[in-house]
Structures are given as structure tokens and as C-alpha cells.
């Protein structure tokens, strides 16, 4: 794990009166959620239930129809709030450039995060995920599984306080799944907030909160 954080962070994420819609279709109405420091939340729900939209709303990408998101009691869009620096958002598309090599991609993101990760750190995490000999290869030459692993390296290389991960466990082999669960629990122990979506429960991962999103069939009020 990168440099040990001096004291565990105590930031928590609160969501008040959240209303989000997709294509004029209201997905969530006036919802209150809270994710306290050091918690892991599993967001569960069928496809199209609005999981991704909620994750994008939490990441500050999707504009909210109403309600607000407080990170450490400060509104996430507030100039002083360092929500954007503390947030690591991983989506389905892995946000890696195909023309660049793995090292370049990861280096770029860590520089953007503020601290250029050294080569040892890079190769250490790559070794944990058995992709250490691919560091110089172009991102486009990798298989889907390997590309996913490269995206997961960012979790280790960047010092953040909030993980918002959309379907991180999808098409991962068992070994990587355990590695990710361990990293999540370690990150939570350090006071970090983890929010992830997945179709099925992940055994071996101790979660603190489960949120399930489902359509209910009865007539809307």
C-alpha cells in the first residue's frame, strides 16, 4: 500500500433529498443516503434500475434534479470542498488511452492526483496482479481482463478517501476478486469510504451497508 496515511480519514458522504432522472424518467425521488468513514456499501439492483446513474450522480457527473451531496459536511460543488481530489470513480469504460502504454496511463493519473508514483510502486502493484511484464505494452494490446486489472491498479496508486466503483468485480478471475476485496477492506480500515455496484454478493467481502434499487410495480403516486 502506498505511504501509510498518518491518521485514518474521518470524512463521510451524505446524500440528502436526492432526485435524479434519466431521459426525463425519474429514477430516484427524494432519497437520503449516508456512507460513513470506513464503510463499504454494496449497491445492488437489476439492470436498468438506475445503479449507474446513481453512481455517476455520487461522482458529481450527473446533474441532480434536486438534493445535495455533502462530503465531510461540505457540499461537493462548493469551491472549498476537495471532493474531486478525494474521489476515485471507476466506470465500465476504463478511461485508459489505447495509444499509451500501461505505465504512461497510470503515471498520468497519479501525476494528476498530485504525486507521481514511482516505478517500484508501479511494478509492485502490477506484480500483485500478474501484469508486471506488460507495463511497457500499449493498452490496446491487452486482453479485456488485463485491461480491467490495469484500471484496478489505480486504486492502489492514488491516495484518495472515496471509492465510487461501478461493477468493479465484473469478469474478474477469483484471484483478482479476492485481491480487490482485501484492498477494499484495507482501504475501509484506513477510514476510506467504498461504494460499489455488482449483480451478486461477493463472498469473503465484509460489507457494512447494502442498498438495493428495484422498480416497484405499483402505480406511481
Amino acid at each position: 500500500m502506498s505511504s501509510k496515511q498518518s491518521e485514518p480519514s474521518s470524512y463521510n458522504l451524505e446524500v440528502k433529498g436526492l432526485t435524479i432522472s434519466r431521459n426525463e424518467q425519474p429514477l430516484l425521488e427524494d432519497t437520503d443516503l449516508s456512507f460513513n468513514a470506513g464503510s463499504i456499501t454494496h449497491l445492488f439492483g437489476e439492470n436498468g434500475a438506475g445503479k449507474t446513474s446513481l453512481m455517476r450522480a455520487l461522482a458529481g457527473l450527473l446533474p441532480l434534479d434536486s438534493g445535495q451531496i455533502l462530503w465531510n459536511q461540505i457540499k461537493n460543488t462548493h469551491p472549498e470542498s476537495n471532493f474531486n481530489q478525494d474521489l476515485l470513480f471507476l466506470a465500465h469504460n476504463l478511461a485508459m488511452k489505447h495509444e499509451l502504454s500501461i505505465a504512461e496511463n497510470l503515471q498520468f493519473y497519479s501525476i494528476l492526483r498530485g504525486r507521481k508514483s514511482s516505478l517500484e510502486e508501479l511494478s509492485k502493484v502490477a506484480a500483485e496482479l500478474q501484469i508486471e511484464n506488460l507495463l511497457e505494452r500499449h493498452f490496446s494490446d491487452l486482453s479485456a481482463g488485463q485491461q480491467h486489472k490495469v484500471a484496478l491498479c489505480r486504486l492502489v496508486l492514488e491516495t484518495v478517501k472515496l471509492w465510487v466503483l461501478d461493477e468493479p468485480f465484473v469478469n474478474l478471475d477469483a484471484k483478482t476478486r479476492d485481491w480487490l476485496s482485501a484492498k477494499m477492506m484495507h482501504f475501509a480500515k484506513e477510514g476510506g469510504v467504498v461504494i460499489f455496484t455488482s449483480h451478486q454478493a461477493i463472498e469473503g467481502l465484509k460489507i457494512h451497508q447494502r442498498i438495493s434499487l428495484s422498480h416497484s410495480e405499483e402505480e406511481a403516486a
Binding site: 461522482a59 458529481g60 457527473l61 478511461a95 488511452k97 499509451l100 504512461e104 492526483r113
Partner: protein
Amino acid sequence: MFLTLLKRELMLARRNWVAVLIPLFFFVIVVSLFPFAVSPEAEFLQQIAAGVVWVAALLAVLLSLDLFYRGDFQDGSLEQLLIMASPIQVALSKVTAHWLVTGLPLVLISPLLAGLMHLNYAPNGAVEMNHTPIMMLSLLLGTPTMCLLGAIGMSLSLAASRNGMLVAVMILPLYVPILIFGSSVITASLANSGYNAQIAILAAILLFALVLTPYTTGKALKVAVS
């Protein structure tokens, strides 16, 4: 932060350098089509040189916009950039990269086209006047504005549709002022009358765009990603 973003953009541009050179070929080809279409006489070409070079530069800049915005939008890195860096910095880094990689080369190869279009033609006996530096100056002031305005159009149409024509339809009307003043600089210098006013206005429009556009492009990128 801005420099990291810029370095990345330039690294990406260097990686697919072929796609980056295409707008320059386009610029040269479009300009050299006119002598076929109109007539090769120097006298005549000189008259239309200013307008042809400017319109070709406009289209070349529009053509190359796609390269800097579409890729990031599709593979999701635009989202990451907008989260980690402020939208204004993202917009500025993309515009600067676009100008350095396409705008500036247009200015640098424009003397070649000045020759093709007999810009410095002087009927025998008349004093030989060199108008190329003026043309380069007008393009130097014009191309950044094209990149800035093009950035707005591109980021607005990113989430709209894939075809590049939409950007052109939206943004070309906004290019009218710089086209008017840009090409009139060269026509004024051809008639060796004063062109400082036009240069000043071009520079004013550039500063105006430099102040307003990054914020707007940032907003448009946020909309595209939402």
C-alpha cells in the same frame, strides 16, 4: 495541472501523428484546387488568395477538431479529466494542444501556399511587395480563435451525434467576423493601404474568445458527460 494535461494531449497527438498531419494535407490540397477551378493567371489568383487561404484554414481546423475530443469522450477519460481537473483547464489544454498541433503548422506552411497563389505577384515594373508575413500574422491571430470557437461546437455536439457536419453548421456562422477581418488584412496589404485596424480587431476578438470560451467549453463538456 494544466501542463500535465497539455503534455498528455501532445503525447497522444504524437502517437497518432498521421491523423494529425491530415488537416495540413487538406489545407494544401484545398488551396491548390482553386487554380484548377478558377484560372492559373497570377493576377487573378492574387486577388482571391486571401479568401481561399482563410477559408481553407477554417475548414482544416474544423476537420481536425474531432481528433482531440471524440476519443476522450468515448473511452471515458474525459469523465476522469473533468473529475480530477477543472473543466476550464481541460478545455484550455485541449484548445492549446489543438492549436499547437494543427493551428500553428497551418501558419507555418502558409508561405508555401502564398507562393502557389502568387500572393506576391507584381506586374513587371511594379515594385515587388512581400505580403506573406502579413498573411502569416493574420493567420497567427485567427487560428487560435478558430480553435477556441471550434472547441465549443465540438464539445456541444459530442453527446449529440457522431457526424462532424453538425459542428460545422453550428460554428461556421461564428467564424464570419474573423474571416472578414482576417482576409481583409491581406487584401488591405495587397492594396498597400493600412491594415493595423484589422489586425487590432482580430487580436481583440482573439482575447475576447480567450476569456469567454474556456468556461463555456468546460460547461459544454460537463453537459456532454452528464
